[in-house]
Amino acid sequence: MKKPIAGGSATRVEVAVARPQASSRPQRPGLLENERVLAGVLLTPTVVLLGMFIAYPFVMGVWLALSSTSVGNPGQFVGLKNFVKAWNDSIFRTAFWNTCWYTGWATIFKLSLGMWLAILLNRNFRGKRLVRASMLLPFIIPTVLSTFAWRWMFDPTFSVLNWLLYRGGFIVNKLPFLSDGTYGLWCAIAVNTWRGMPFFAISLLAGLQTINPDLHEAASLDGANAWHRFWHVTWPLLKPVTLVVVVFSIIQTFSDFQLIYVLTGGGPANSTHLIATYAYQIGVATGLLGEGAAISLFMLPVLFVVVWLQLRYLRRLEGA
């Protein structure tokens, strides 16, 4: 039987009694009770791992870039000589602009197509889950394998794309997909977009799902059409997620290696090199470790500025 008013306070008293019992248990003084020691112990594994796999290679890279080290030759400090040499190297300049071009377009395509896909997938339809899951396929296939498949599709002789276009009556002569530098770079952008779009779509979809559907209903009652609803409600609320995804993507695309390495190998005639593949060619394939390190270090200031700008913008968005 329920009890009036008094019953409530009786329960509260019981709870209050339970606490002193718990704290009256004898305490075990130990080294780990000291917060400083405990913090140190907990941090050590992370610090060791980060030091071994991030800090040491980075410092080593900087040192190599400032030295004349090559395979079999410890080398010596040469100052900024490697950087100057790289900047005066026409192939490096091509690689540098290729990297900017490749990153810029691939990011634009991934963002716009990913957004479109996310908005489509955010609707309710039959088989929604299956489509969402299968969309991730390009993302989970190892890049090297999928790029090999693409290389076959772009193959100068056996290209299935050329065959389709030719059979479809769209072209008369075969397109030089990978045998022309400009075509090659666009092919790489296409493959990168194909591979990276799911990540954008899934991240943006997650962002879309945090937006309260009532806001769209309120906006439609307020007289907003579909475009207005996207522009005035969805996009502003999705901006923080979008920025994070874009920063991630720029970092990954700017330092991309495997896709170009497998698809074109930097060719034809070094016309499709990115900074990473050119650094590999000079540093590892040619054995000029110092020069290779200098080339790869050119990525640092660019990425630093991009990340700094976007993080600053993100912070302003959050603070506003």
Binding site: N212, E217, A218
Partner: protein
């Protein structure tokens, strides 16, 4: 300002028939409250009026237009949502101005309307803030402000007070009522809280399982419920129901169960005679049960044992047992009784309700 007509309105989802043959005429400037337990179809009905749900069958008229196929933006209505649905990235001013901007109002008129609404609601000093910098009550006001700047034909409220704490809810309830008196706009208000429904509505529509149970003015629902559901839903604490058998005791009709025997008041005797020998449900509100005095006639008094005493300050609720029946009585705070004591109670004979056991309609 407009009337709203719902004709044979139906809504079916894949497996659920959420709204069934709803017919309702909401008069111009009227404040109508749809009330019922969750899942009764009240919100769905409102959302169909707003154009946020497609109509499976029937017609909706706002003013003299049929709006079945009009998108929400063309229905000239404004809605206040349960969670306010304020645009989090816009200031209060922009939230209120958004609907006017979308409709391409001139800038100075937008400004004028927003300032007027802000003044009416006492939120002038909040215009530059973002929604997350506001308290629940302030957000509620902004949501209302966003609706009134548009000067719509109809206001729709979807449980707008249910996210507020009890005290604020009472305060906002009064403000909404005052606001409606002032703006004189037709309003449809959805709530599951019967107190809100009773206090706000010019008329109240009680719904259950997609059906309208009864439409009427608040006091009409309270004093003449159409069926057992409405009787139990309206009023707090809820009406007591006791299963009784109707007997003919030499001229007077009685309602009996083990340990309780009441004479059916003459006004109802004629109709209840038809139920002789059968069971019916007797309904009596807690406020119509009182401690018996010498003045109370014996046919309407009975002995009970007190199970629980709930002193609320202004009144005392007694959970009592009369034979196999249990009842709640709302008695004067001066009454002194203890648990397990016996007490003689009496009912107000003219306020007894009887319901058919099968179809639960009032007899």
């Amino acid at each position: 300002m407009a009337q709203v007509m719902l004709k044979d309105l139906n809504k079916k989802y894949d497996e659920v028939h959420a709204v069934k043959d709803v017919n309702l005429h909401i008069r111009d400037k009227e404040f109508v409250v749809l009330v019922g337990p969750s899942g009764c179809g009240k919100s769905t009905t409102l959302r169909m009026v707003a154009g946020l749900e497609e109509i499976t069958g029937g017609e909706i008229h706002i003013g003299d237009r049929m709006v079945n196929d009009l998108p929400p933006k063309d229905r000239d209505i404004a809605m206040v949502f349960q969670n306010y649905a304020l645009y989090p990235h816009m200031t209060v001013y922009d939230n209120m101005a958004f609907g006017l901007k979308m409709r391409k109002f001139p800038k100075n008129e937008i400004e004028q309307r927003v300032r007027d609404a802000a003044q009416l609601l006492g939120i002038q000093e909040l215009l530059k803030r973002k929604p997350r910098q506001l308290s629940g009550g302030q957000r509620q006001r902004v949501a209302v402000g966003r609706a009134i700047v548009r000067h719509p034909q109809v206001f729709l409220f979807d449980e707008p007070l249910s996210n507020l704490d009890a005290k604020l809810r009472v305060q906002m309830r009064v403000e909404l009522k005052r606001l409606h008196d002032r703006l004189e706009t037709t309003a449809i208000y959805v709530t599951h809280d019967q107190v809100e429904a009773m206090t706000l509505g010019d008329r109240v529509v009680v719904m259950k399982d997609g059906w309208i149970q009864q439409v009427g003015e608040p006091m009409e629902l309270y004093s003449r419920p159409a069926n057992k559901f409405v009787a139990g839903f309206i009023g707090s604490p809820a009406m007591n129901f006791v299963d009784v058998t109707i007997n003919d005791a030499g001229g007077s009709i009685t309602a009996e169960t083990q340990g309780l025997r009441l004479t059916v008041p003459p006004a109802k005797a004629a109709t209840l005679r038809a139920y002789k020998g059968q069971g019916v449900t007797l309904g009596v509100r807690p406020e119509d049960v009182h401690v018996a005095t010498a003045a109370d006639p014996a046919p309407y008094s009975f002995d009970t044992t007190v199970d629980v005493v709930e002193p609320l300050g202004s009144e005392i609720l007694l959970d009592v047992r009369a034979g196999s029946a249990t009842l709640v009585a709302r008695v004067e705070p001066t009454v002194r009784v203890k648990v397990h004591e016996s007490v003689r109670l009496a009912v107000n004979a003219d306020r007894l309700h009887f319901f058919d056991v099968k179809n639960e309609h009032a007899i």
